[in-house]
């Protein structure tokens, strides 16, 4: 069997909203799955109504929704009505995967819970995406992105002592949760391919952020040293050469040099730091470690005398680089060369830049198809072509407000 994409022929029914859930199925759509997004006729996914992200108003098009739902088809159906539920249940019959991130009681009331759907289709992979996981007192709580990282301990450990807790940025936790969700679907699909068995799978914001924070959390779990739960100043780093420094033009430099005599020599030579180099306090790696505070202070003074690019020019080949912003990233050829950022030409929205494909498969590469669908854009097509409804049925369903 020849397949151009890894998930050719895989059918996904999607009852998700906002970010964590929709991005699970966007990942699957990027890899070739056919995703049918079920939305209520009263506005659908509330992500459609997002007026601004990062305090920037959505302009002309809703880049948030259109990206989170790219490659999907929208069927607008009121699944709280008997006829609406029937439509979704019919779609479930030959679906491979169902993904939802509503609250459990809501999903039960809609009769879209695992017990109901697995009776219709025992081979179904049922992914439930929550805030805090399948069990425990928090299992039915609603939540937003900061609740993962805020609960895990990351916000209190980042930044300078005294700085307000640092949020790692819009939806980092949701993005991780979405990725974990896509990975979970694949593990379950693989198992089904081998055994024929479908099953219920849960992923969550909290459960996903804990492994995301591994680099920070493991040292605490290993040592139980309370000091590691707190913020630490860049002025007190044990290795002065693994730090950030501000240059004359207020641009920052990120330096990640494992200190050794050889690296120190290259570092000093590249920057013309003869005076610092000669200082007996910094004569060898051990002294530099003992006197790292003084070395950081000395480097702060010196590095403030030239612009970032002047410094970087002297350090070619060393693990030192600029602290960029998104404009720099968009001008960087590297993400474009790897499809991490892609320009698409969408029939509705024209040429648009998209965050790209997150993993590269050499023979079945991912692809961005159309951007997010209009609400109910594919209702008629799916009902008629897939489920065999007649045009009279459609008209009636519209009258009864079962579909848009």
């Amino acid at each position: 069997m020849k397949m151009a994409m890894a998930l050719d022929g895989i059918k996904v029914v999607d009852m998700t909203q906002w970010y964590q859930g929709p991005v699970v199925t966007a990942h699957l759509a990027d890899m070739g799955a056919e995703v049918i997004k079920i939305e209520n006729p009263r506005g659908g996914d509330p992500g459609r109504g997002v007026m601004a992200t990062a305090s920037i108003p959505t302009s002309g098009w809703n880049s948030y929704f259109q990206t989170n739902n790219r490659g999907k088809r929208s069927v607008s159906v009121d699944s709280s009505t008997d006829k609406g539920r029937e439509i979704v249940h019919k779609l479930i019959k030959d679906a491979d995967v169902f993904v939802c991130n509503m609250l459990r009681p809501t999903i039960k009331k809609l009769q879209m819970d695992y017990e109901t759907l697995s009776k219709i289709n025992p081979r179904l992979i049922y992914l439930f995406v929550s805030t805090f996981g399948r069990y425990g007192e928090g299992k039915d709580k609603p939540g937003y992105d900061p609740q993962g990282q805020g609960r895990v301990g990351v916000m209190l450990a980042l930044g300078e002592p005294g700085q307000n807790p640092v949020y790692t940025g819009s939806a980092t936790g949701d993005a991780m949760g979405a990725l974990i969700g896509a990975y979970a679907v694949m593990v379950a699909l693989y198992h089904r391919e081998v055994t024929g068995e479908g099953q219920e799978v849960d992923t969550s914001l909290l459960g996903s952020f804990i492994p995301a924070a591994a680099d920070l959390l493991l040292p605490y779990l290993g040592t139980r040293d309370h000091d590691l739960t707190k913020q630490h100043s860049r002025k007190e780093r044990p290795n002065a050469l693994w730090n950030v420094y501000r240059a004359k033009d207020d641009k920052w430099i990120c330096m990640c040099i494992e200190d050794s005599s050889e690296m120190w020599a290259r570092f000093c030579k590249g920057a013309g730091l003869e005076k610092v180099k000669k200082d007996a306090m910094f004569a060898d790696p051990q002294k530099r470690r003992e006197n790292s505070k003084s070395l950081i202070a000395a480097l702060d003074d010196v590095l403030a005398t030239r612009t970032r690019d002047e410094w970087l020019a002297g350090w070619k080949g060393l693990p030192v680089g600029p602290v960029n912003n998104f404009a720099d990233l968009a001008a960087d050829p590297q993400p474009w060369a790897n499809d991490y950022i892609i320009e698409v030409d969408d029939p509705k929205f024209g040429r648009q830049w998209q965050r790209g494909i997150c993993v590269q498969l050499s023979k079945t590469p991912g692809k961005i198809r159309d951007l997010g669908p209009e609400l109910g854009q594919h209702t008629e097509e799916i009902l008629v072509d897939r489920l065999g409804y007649s045009w009279e049925d459609i008209a009636k369903l519209k009258d009864e407000k079962v579909i848009l």
């Binding site: 890899m31 990062a54 305090s55 920037i56 959505t58 302009s59 098009w61 948030y64 259109q66 805090f132 996981g133 937003y144 609960r151 895990v152 916000m155 980042l158 700085q163 307000n164 807790p165 819009s170 980092t172 990725l179 974990i180 896509a182 990975y183 979970a184 379950a188 693989y190 081998v194 099953q199 799978v201 992923t203 804990i210 492994p211 995301a212 591994a214 680099d215 920070l216 959390l217 040292p219 779990l221 290993g222 040293d225 739960t229 950030v244 200190d259 693990p319 600029p322 602290v323 960029n324 998104f326 404009a327 990233l329 968009a330 060369a337 790897n338 965050r355 993993v359 590269q360 050499s362």
Partner: protein, 407 residues
């Protein structure tokens, strides 16, 4: 109960976190992971190998990144060693690596895919397989700095914050890519190369806010700065009910996305009923754009005097408030929600007694993830694998040891 990935065999030629952790996400579900090591072993067997890792009595880093694996110790530079590796590769479904140059010992995609055309060959790197910077060192802070996300977080005027999420997140990207390719392999027999990188992963993780920037038109992109190219900080957020507050004993993150809907209840809970109809705060426009700093100052002052208790949280929950009490690493490690869901697990360690380890983010009802074994000692399973999988005799093994082909 069975395991989801029973019968999947992975050869893991990795070190550190990005590569090693990728196969953990397969081993947790029952794939057989054979960690291939040279006689020197993975440098992360020694915590001293990375200065940033604090000392401890047990290797918390290696234990997590290598659980559920077997270790074989083979010198792939000898002919006989190469033969062992090649035979294993022929039987494997997946080969995963983050090593390059001499450290890869010639076990590249071209060579291995010829031996086994169905092989999924997975690579973790700094910046991906294409473009001008394919040989950048895989250091998370350097790559994260390059992505630009750090310019959007924290407070204006503070040094850029390094969140250090990229390495474990890349491991999950790689595991996801491997699962896609494995599924394709199962359906078609076709193998392929899979790539994930710190750059791609940090971009995906920054997806929402980065997309806000990418989604602007060319002209608008030139104009934006705050929030996208530099941090807005706590005060620049707009909605005063969507930021962190410092109470007497704890920080909370208030998450009232629709402020007006929650405002009356919020006023009652905070004891500021007199402000409920205050014209400064009676519309979104007034509260979030015109007078937000005033309201933040008022709430700051009251919060500083209030202690967050169980009773307080109960009241807030009953009033339908959405918020998060910020915890530290100590609190999450004993959080019943994390423990009941096995996001964090308690494990018996032979020398350390009870230890805490990061658990499993995915809950599968019929085929749950499990911890079958702690990280292996170097070469702990060399003999087992050579005898059971490759049919070597014990005499041959003695000879291979003598010739230092295996450790």
């Amino acid at each position: 109960m069975g395991n989801a990935l029973n019968g999947v065999r992975v050869i893991d030629f990795t070190e550190g976190m990005m590569g090693s952790l990728a196969s953990v996400f397969l081993g947790d579900f029952g794939a057989e992971i054979i960690k291939l090591e040279t006689h020197e072993g993975d440098p992360y067997r020694n915590l001293d190998s990375a200065a940033r890792l604090p000392k401890a009595n047990w290797n918390y880093y290696f234990e997590y990144c290598n659980r559920n694996k077997k270790s074989i110790d083979v010198n792939p530079d000898t002919d006989k060693g190469k033969e062992i590796v090649y035979e294993l590769v022929k039987q494997a479904n997946v080969f995963v690596t983050n090593l390059t140059g001499q450290k890869l010992h010639g076990l590249d995609y071209e060579t291995l895919s010829k031996l086994n055309p169905g092989l999924v060959y997975a690579v973790g790197s700094a910046c991906g397989p294409n473009g001008p910077d394919t040989d950048m060192p895989p250091i998370e802070e350097l790559v994260y700095s390059r992505v630009g996300m750090t310019c959007t977080i924290g407070e204006p005027g503070y040094p850029p914050v390094m969140t250090r999420l990229g390495e474990p997140v890349t491991a999950v990207h790689l595991a996801y890519g491997i699962m896609l390719a494995l599924f394709h392999q199962k359906r078609t027999g076709e193998g392929q190369r899979v790539d994930a990188s710190l750059l791609g992963s940090d971009i995906n993780l920054s997806g929402l806010i980065l997309q806000t920037y990418l989604g602007l038109g060319a002209e608008e992109r030139k104009k934006v700065s705050k929030g996208l190219l530099m941090p807005t900080g706590r005060l620049g957020q707009g909605n005063p009910l969507l930021i962190t507050y410092k109470f007497k004993n704890k920080w909370i993150y208030l998450l009232l996305l629709q402020p007006m809907r929650y405002w009356p209840n919020f006023c009652k809970l905070m004891g500021i009923e007199h402000l409920e109809n205050d014209p400064r705060f009676n519309t979104i426009e007034n509260m979030c754009f015109k007078h937000n700093n005033e309201l933040v100052a008022i709430i700051d002052e009251i919060a500083a005097k209030k202690t967050i208790t169980k009773e307080w949280m109960k009241q807030w929950d009953e009033a339908g408030m959405i918020y998060q009490v910020l915890q530290d690493f100590e609190e999450i490690s004993v959080d019943s929600q994390a423990l009941e869901n096995r996001f964090i697990i308690d494990v018996d360690h032979p020398t350390e007694g009870k230890i805490k380890m990061i658990g499993f983010p995915v809950q599968m009802v019929k085929t749950p993830a499990r911890l079958a074994r702690l990280a292996p000692a170097l070469g702990e399973h060399t003999v087992e694998v050579l005898v059971d999988s490759l049919g070597y005799t014990l005499d041959e093994i003695t000879q291979l040891k003598k010739e230092k082909v295996i450790g």
